[in-house]
Symmetry: C2
Subunit: 191 residues, 2 copies
Amino acid sequence: MKLLKEKIQSEGKVLSDQVLKVDSFLNHQIDPQLMVEIGKEFANRFEAEQITKVLTIESSGIAPGLMAALELNVPVVFARKRRSLTLIDDLLTAEVHSFTKNETNQISVSRKYLRETDRVLIIDDFLANGQAALALAEIVKEAGATVSGIGIVIEKSFQPGGDLLREKGFKVESLARIASLAGGVSFVEEL
Amino acid sequence: MKLLKEKIQSEGKVLSDQVLKVDSFLNHQIDPQLMVEIGKEFANRFEAEQITKVLTIESSGIAPGLMAALELNVPVVFARKRRSLTLIDDLLTAEVHSFTKNETNQISVSRKYLRETDRVLIIDDFLANGQAALALAEIVKEAGATVSGIGIVIEKSFQPGGDLLREKGFKVESLARIASLAGGVSFVEEL
Ligand SMILES: Nc1nc2c(ncn2[C@@H]2O[C@H](COP(=O)(O)OP(=O)(O)O)[C@@H](OP(=O)(O)OP(=O)(O)O)[C@H]2O)c(=O)[nH]1
Ligand SMILES: Nc1nc2c(ncn2[C@@H]2O[C@H](COP(=O)(O)OP(=O)(O)O)[C@@H](OP(=O)(O)OP(=O)(O)O)[C@H]2O)c(=O)[nH]1
């Protein structure tokens, strides 16, 4: 997605060979117009999938997930990383492993919001090790629903998440794919 | 806001005299079209304020904050309750006191995203004790910026937050004001 790549080049900050900071438009400050375009791009890439629901995870997944859902005219659900005041029902849960922190955390979605008939588009901001996306897919499966696809804003293709998800047969669409952060941002060659 | 009140009546669940559950359209599953209307309503109520930025707090503030920002054509920033991978800069912080948990937590916003010239619209999903809104206002003040207003989706008017903020002179606009949850949802009489 050209506009996104331009934003990354002009506003992104490479913090290390492993980490790209995009706090000015995605992870802390959010550019609403860019989110509209991101939502439209996701909707275009998955328009043949008859999506009935978008599933994402707090917090940075909410903005892109909401805009994709708006464009697809379906509800969006965000998985919780921590119990909230009203997250008390029939919970579907899955573990997310963090390689950097070497710890595992549980995420939850209320069963009420995923039916067996749902065709779910999973959305997240970054794809690195793929653990969050895998956990969301596990929750969809636990609900008896279908993962119709996985939409990622920024994929770090030099990390294993992308291969991991594609090898499992998921349709993964990333709006920007970063081949390397060493010496600056270089994108994967797109045909 | 009529549409919101109807959603609350048809889908809201009164959990106790103190707590209203709206997980089906605001706090866990989100209704994107409702969020569009909420964004438009906030923009209408604050159109005279020359807003330059929307400030909210993760997680439930993001959707309404984003839609208000989209309608006002300004960026939205969400305060973090916990450190994130890239939230490392020059941080503005404030304490949020929780009455139910009897504890205080720190929230953070990077100084980069609030300039002295900013006219800030604070947005949040619920207004109960007002501590989160106060903390966001404190952060705006610390940045040397102006709080142009506070937009709330659901105010529980039987709790002190609304009075607290209005007594301090803030322009508070709540899209639904709940007078009581005892025996069901009753709204404040709107003229
Ligand atoms: N900005 C940025 N973030 C990255 C990058 N790589 C991974 N992340 C984010 O870091 C968090 C993952 O960290 P860990 O759970 O510790 O996982 P990991 O070490 O196995 O990658 C996720 O944030 P999250 O759960 O999405 O947090 P939130 O922003 O939603 O609160 C993920 O999106 C990167 O290059 N740049
Ligand atoms: N659904 C619902 N939520 C309520 C109600 N009253 C307060 N809350 C939410 O509960 C959380 C506040 O809890 P505490 O920090 O413990 O504060 P308090 O006891 O002083 O009210 C906030 O969630 P938050 O920080 O906004 O969490 P998040 O949803 O953004 O993750 C607030 O929005 C209510 O009647 N219904």
